[in-house]
């Protein structure tokens, strides 16, 4: 018991409750004005009661639904109640379910805070008077109108400061208890629900995968190009006098690779800036539902894309659908990049099949003989492998006859109709 009173968290939690009390006080000030107005209307008793309840209940309820309240309460709960939410930092309410739960939390905060606020006022208010009681001249004294205490002038008067100390201890014990209850309830009411937790996890995984991919992309492209430029420059400087022809070739090579590196850097930095990538909080990501637009955009580049879809793709879990979209997107990009032929002569066949065995994505495109050696594993393919690994799927990529084939299988638990 005693160590509760020396713990810093006890007093932080008390402060959190007093914040609630301060809000209650603000509401009471507003309410008292409005209630006296209602009283002046001289309405029938029932109507007055209904109006008063409405006026008293409305402000906290409306305030609780404001998205920012979740954010503010989140900060207060983390720092004062010492709760660690799984979603950090706790964002503003995004759904109505979150608004409802935040409102419920807000009301709990106000109720508990109001209670502890009243008790604190009483304990400290009366306590101050009672602490001084043994030092006053004997006789009856008034604590509040109608409540008196007796100062006798004997040592027994010291029961009053003692009682005050006990009351203060009891107040903090109570407030610690209420605080502990609130700390227990906070993650449940204010924090993410299981469904939201999965979504958070998914987003975190996606961010991580994306970050790895970007790191590798920088490593592969920019690191490679800069090494090349360094070595060519060093070589050119050494042979400038003896072999000017080599120096000239070296300069041309440096120019080309520096330019390519800049383009790659531009691309990667673009990805880092783009808030529509996973990890961003707001914008929804493309799913297979947006496939038509992707295919049309590819076709607009002069590429012939054949699409065959089977199975009810609407049934796919959103995470799988999103990843499938991005895999197809990268697959198409790879096909264009490595086919070794102009866009006008490129045909890509895309098969999407969903059945009990899972989701199959298959991209095939003919490749020119000279281009085949590029197909061993570009950056795009590594990105695909990473995505698929997260979803525990398999990737096959390679030449089949003179066609490059990319096949991705993702396990999906789908209850197919008949």
């Amino acid at each position: 018991m005693a160590n509760v009173l020396v713990r810093g968290s006890t007093y932080l939690r008390w402060v959190y409750l007093l914040l609630g009390a301060a809000l209650v006080l603000a509401f009471i000030l507003v309410d008292s004005g409005l209630v006296s107005l209602i009283d002046d209307l001289q309405l029938p008793g029932v109507l007055t009661a209904i109006l008063v309840v409405l006026v008293v209940a409305a402000p906290p309820l409306v305030l609780g639904t404001l998205p920012a309240v979740r954010e503010v309460e989140g900060i207060a709960v983390e720092s004062l109640l010492g709760v660690r939410f799984e979603e950090r930092p706790l964002g503003p309410s995004r759904t109505w379910a979150q608004r409802r739960r935040t409102t419920a939390w807000f009301c709990v905060h106000l109720t508990a805070g109001g209670l502890v606020g009243i008790l604190s006022t009483a304990v400290f208010g009366f306590g101050a008077v009672l602490l001084a009681a043994p030092f006053r001249s004997p006789g009856p004294r008034e604590l509040v109108p109608g409540l008196t205490y007796q100062v006798t002038g004997r040592w027994t008067d010291f029961w009053m400061p003692l009682a005050t100390i006990v009351a203060i201890a009891a107040l903090f014990l109570l407030s610690a208890g209420i605080g502990a209850l609130l700390a227990y309830a906070a993650p449940r009411l204010l924090g993410p629900t299981p469904a939201e937790r999965i979504e958070l996890l998914e987003r975190r995984t996606a961010t991580l995968a994306e970050r790895n991919r970007l790191a590798r992309e920088l490593h592969d492209s920019v690191g490679h190009a800069l090494s090349l430029v360094t070595i060519q420059a060093a070589a050119a400087r050494r042979v400038l006098a003896t072999d000017p022809a080599f120096a000239e070739t070296a300069l041309a090579a440096m120019e080309t690779s520096a330019r390519a590196a800049l383009a790659d850097l531009d691309h990667v930095l673009g990805l880092l800036r783009d808030d529509r990538r996973p990890g961003s909080q707001t914008a929804p990501q493309a799913t297979l539902g947006n496939l038509t637009r992707l295919v049309e955009a590819t076709r607009a580049g002069g590429i012939t894309v054949g699409v065959r879809r089977t199975g009810d793709l609407e049934q796919l879990p959103a995470a799988v659908s999103r990843e499938a979209y991005r895999i197809i997107q990268e697959g198409l990009t790879n096909a264009i990049r490595h086919a070794g032929r102009p866009a006008g002569e490129l045909t890509v066949d895309l098969v999407i099949n969903l059945d009990k065995s899972g989701l199959l994505l298959e991209l095939t495109n003919p490749v020119s003989a000279g281009a085949a050696d590029h197909s061993g594993g570009g950056r795009g393919l590594a990105g695909i492998r990473e995505r698929v690994a997260v979803l525990r799927g398999t990737v096959e990529a390679g030449l089949v006859a003179d066609r490059w084939r990319l096949a991705v299988r993702l396990p999906v638990a789908v209850t197919t109709k008949a």
Partner: protein, 217 residues
């Protein structure tokens, strides 16, 4: 004496750059090139180089695999100097364990590249002792069994020599430190390499670190 070099890298422009840098030295000569780890063995057989500059990441057979092939397939095998873009490349340590004599960053200034080739060809001292220690520090796990080198029955003198090798001292410097003849040190080095089954100083020093014989910290 001329040092002959084979350059292995999948990027032709890196090869041509390294070739120009190396050929600009009167005592160094590039005698062959390979564009992938798979092509290394025949080229090295044909040209018998002293040193192979080996890129780590290559599409079909990577530098580690190629190093292994070279060192297992040839006797005498050339010294392998691994060339990498980034210092924190996990493959570098694997390559050293596979028998490479040292590693170089592609951004190393040309004079240092040349010096590294000469050091490795001479095999009289350890290339970048600090970097090797740092790599070992990053890869030897805390829980590793520090078995020591007792099983190899090194003599007191050989143990002393190994400790000084790990600090990066050359044979001549070790001779000065121990007040012995350079020829004696060479014999000690040869004996301790044979006892440890190490190909060269790099492997011996890595073993010394991994066994805890030379503390990493």
């Amino acid at each position: 004496m001329e040092i002959s070099v084979v350059v292995v890298d999948d990027e032709p422009l890196i090869r041509s750059g390294l070739r120009a840098i190396i050929d600009a030295e009167p005592d160094l000569k590039v005698v062959g090139e390979a564009g992938d780890g798979a092509e290394v063995l025949p080229v090295v057989r044909r040209t018998q180089p002293d040193v192979v500059l080996m890129d780590v990441r290559m599409p079909a057979v990577d530098g580690i695999q190629a190093t292994r092939l070279l060192l297992e397939g040839l006797d005498p095998a050339p010294r392998v100097l691994v060339v990498t873009t980034f210092e924190n490349d996990d493959y570098v340590y694997d390559a050293l364990r596979a028998g490479a004599s040292g590693f170089l960053l592609k951004r190393t200034p040309p004079d240092d590249i040349i010096a590294a080739i000469r050091t490795v060809a001479g095999s009289e001292s350890l290339l970048f002792p600090e970097a090797i220690r740092a790599l070992a520090l990053a890869h030897v796990t805390e829980q590793a069994q520090l078995s020591g080198l007792d099983a190899y029955q090194l003599t007191e003198r050989e143990q002393e020599v190994l400790r000084l090798m790990a600090r990066g001292l050359s044979n001549a410097e070790i001779a000065g430190e121990l007040i012995l003849g350079v020829q004696t040190i060479k014999t000690h080095v040869a004996n301790l390499l044979a006892k440890l089954g190490a190909r060269d100083r790099t492997q011996a020093v890595i073993q010394a670190y991994e066994s805890g014989f030379v503390p990493l910290r």
